[in-house]
């Protein structure tokens, strides 16, 4: 139940939320920077823990509904409290996280412990005052958005209008208003009339960061569709279809499976989007539909092992990907873009768009002492293994990094292995 299933920074980067298979949400808060210790950024410590979803039983279908948190998305902060959406397979919840560090004391009719005083003993009146108390962080569910998904929810995305959001399951996408829980609009429906004809499912969906009527959704066949809600109420017809033609030389029985897109993320500018399929990360320019502008190979050495990976089900692992922070993307008057994604053996990869360099790092306590610089790793695909290289056959496929997140402003990253969360930052000089 401690398996981490989602990781997300809030808009300021001060808070980092993780969701796990047991339905819990744990929020970490960054310590305020110490002016005297300018060489380190604040550490992240546990701020709040709460049970977001409980396991449920669907009596009609006699099936359990898992409490595993599939996605967390933060709302931008509007007042002192923080809000986030968390979802399991069927239900989305809006949580309010607020702090309490004062409490009223000096009531006239109540004792400090809450018991009522005998009114006849009251001889003077006083005005209650707020006195400081130990900080308490409370999480309370403010909205519950339920019963709108027949299939498993895989994505939620908050619109740039900050009033609506979408939720996507395998076959449908619904549009909600954050204030309204008893209604949602269905905006995409790819369920065929005859389920025997089903060959494609929705794998991820996201709203455009700037245009509140635009969203994309990816499919298990490796396509991405961009839809405009102004075109029609039901966006079954896409405005743009992004698909790269298949490389005939690489064709195998597994071609379709590995082309299935597991994650799609817009760049902060909204000009590009990134998709993750089993072996690669692709960057697409929204103005060009017929092929990506860049493709990065995450672990090409697995291509020859697809049959084994199919057998042990690893080929169905859904890796996520992320962009570096928005502030960082425009730096030194040039676009500075890095993308990150996970792999096996607790490795994760980063690709620098400008320099075209890439690096493989490992999230592991045994191999990295705290506060030391991570050593780049290399996988030896075939042939003679050099010193410090790891051969493909000794990779541990149980140690997978599916979820990673990048701080919106700093070069701080959160990397989730199966049970642990690692936070790395770049070296400050």
């Amino acid at each position: 139940a401690d398996i981490i299933s989602t990781v997300e920074f809030n808009h300021s980067g001060e808070l980092l939320a993780t969701g796990d298979k047991g339905g819990r949400v744990v929020i970490f808060q960054q310590e305020q920077e110490n002016k005297t210790q300018s060489h380190t950024r604040g550490e992240y410590n546990v701020y709040s823990t709460f049970q977001s979803h409980e396991p449920e039983f669907d009596y009609l279908k006699s099936l359990e509904i898992e409490e595993k948190i599939n996605k967390i998305r933060w709302l931008p902060q509007k007042n002192a409290a923080q809000f986030l959406l968390s979802t399991n397979d069927k239900t989305i919840k809006l949580w309010k996280i607020s702090e309490r560090d004062k409490r009223p004391e000096g009531y006239n009719l109540k004792e400090e412990d809450g018991r009522y005083r005998d009114p006849t003993t009251v001889t003077t009146l006083r005005v209650p005052v707020f006195r400081p108390m130990d900080l308490m962080v409370e999480a309370s569910p403010r909205r519950i958005f339920a019963n709108a998904h027949t299939y498993h929810i895989n994505s939620i995305s908050i619109n740039s209008d900050y009033e609506t959001y979408l939720s996507a399951d395998d076959l449908r996408i619904n549009l909600w208003h954050l204030e309204i829980t008893d209604r949602s609009f269905n905006i995409v429906d790819i369920k065929p009339a005859n389920m025997e004809e089903l060959t494609e499912v929705i794998t991820a969906a996201e709203f455009h960061p700037n245009s509140c009527s635009t969203f994309v959704y990816s499919s298990s066949k490796g396509t991405i569709r961009l839809c405009d809600m102004r075109a029609s109420a039901l966006c079954d017809r896409h405005s743009k279809l992004f698909e790269e033609p298949e490389d005939p030389s690489n064709r195998s029985f597994f071609s379709e499976i590995i082309s299935s897109i597991s994650d799609v993320k817009f760049s902060h500018s909204g000009r590009y989007m990134m998709t993750r399929d089993y072996l690669s990360v692709k960057i697409w320019d929204l103005n060009m539909e017929n092929r990506p502008v860049e493709t990065y190979q995450v672990h090409e050495y697995l291509r020859s092992k697809l049959c084994s990976l199919y057998e042990n089900d690893c080929i169905f692992d859904k890796f996520e990907c992320c962009w570096n922070g928005s502030d960082r993307q425009v730096e030194f008057s040039a676009l500075y873009i890095v993308v990150m994604t996970g792999s096996y053996n607790n490795f994760f990869r980063m690709f620098d768009r400008n320099s075209k360099r890439d690096v493989t790092l490992e999230a592991s306590r045994e191999n990295n002492k705290p506060r030391t610089v991570l050593k780049p790793r290399k996988v030896c695909a075939s042939g003679k293994r050099k010193k410090d290289e790891i051969s493909v056959d000794s990779l541990d496929f149980n140690k997978k990094i599916l979820h990673t997140a990048w701080h919106p402003k700093e070069n701080i990253i959160a990397v989730a292995t199966t049970n642990n969360l690692y936070i790395f930052q770049d070296k400050l000089n």
């Binding site: 279908k61 020859s304 199919y310």
Partner: protein, 249 residues
């Protein structure tokens, strides 16, 4: 052919399922690899974890793979040359042996660090004589997939859940031995859209098409509904009960 404890041999270039067409020995190897991939896929479709709804994406991808293999086998002519002898026994062995293979790899994937490679190595080379029986028995196992697909998505179907996968597997074996495609179709057609409709109606989804079905469900008139409900297993009594309540109200 596949005996537990028998040491599996590595292929050279174990990984490449396409193989090369160099040499006559390589050609049956490709067919056999393809066949075992097909069997593995069928078993995966069946061995869904029953308490929780199986992953629809995964099921769709596996079913598409099965379809691809089928299409290729049809084009190859491998399909036609198959004599549909009743080789129920052999096909049972095959499915079970693949199951053993999958289970052992899954178990090892559970906790230990075991390299995934080398497990998908069948001991075909030592059993060349068995090739013919194996290809012949493919017919039976492959006929099932088309209907299996409908069986899978209707996941919302109560048939697979409640730990009943063993029962559905038995059904597959039964139908394989009977060799009557019609019965196979009937078997899986009973798991039809009516469950979806009940589903969507009761989860409050608003959709015109569904509304029509809702009406019919309430009056309980369409033959498909009655057929499906009457063919429900005893452990679908919950569903029956609920439907009865609906009808009576």
């Amino acid at each position: 052919m596949f005996v537990r404890g028998l040491k599996r041999k590595c292929f050279d270039g174990e990984e490449d399922i396409e193989g090369t067409l160099a040499g006559i020995k390589a050609i049956p190897s490709y067919n056999l690899q393809r066949q075992s991939l097909l069997d593995m896929s069928l078993v995966k479709l069946q061995l869904c974890h029953m308490l929780v709804e199986p992953n629809l994406c995964r099921s769709v991808l596996i079913a598409n793979t099965v379809r691809q293999i089928q299409e290729e086998m049809t084009q190859d002519g491998t399909w036609q040359m198959i004599n549909t002898q009743s080789t129920g026994q052999a096909s049972l062995d095959r499915l079970v042996s693949t199951d053993i293979l999958c289970r052992s790899s899954r178990d090892s994937a559970e906790g230990k660090h075991v390299p995934a490679y080398g497990t998908f190595n069948k001991d075909f080379e030592s059993d060349q004589a068995q090739d013919r029986t194996e290809t012949m028995s493919t017919a039976s196992s492959v006929q099932a997939p088309r209907n299996l697909q409908s069986n899978v998505w209707e996941m919302e179907n109560p048939q697979e859940n409640k730990g009943n996968f063993q029962k559905s597997l038995d059904q597959i074996f039964e139908t394989l031995e009977n060799k009557s495609p019609n019965s196979v179709e009937d078997l899986f057609s009973e798991v039809d859209n009516s469950y979806y409709d009940l589903d969507t109606m009761l989860t409050g989804m608003m959709s015109n098409t569904k509304m029509g079905h809702c009406d019919s469900l309430e009056t309980f008139s369409p033959p498909t509904n009655t057929a499906s409900n009457s063919n429900c297993k005893s452990d679908l009594s919950d569903l029956d009960h609920i439907v009865e309540i609906l009808v009576e109200s």
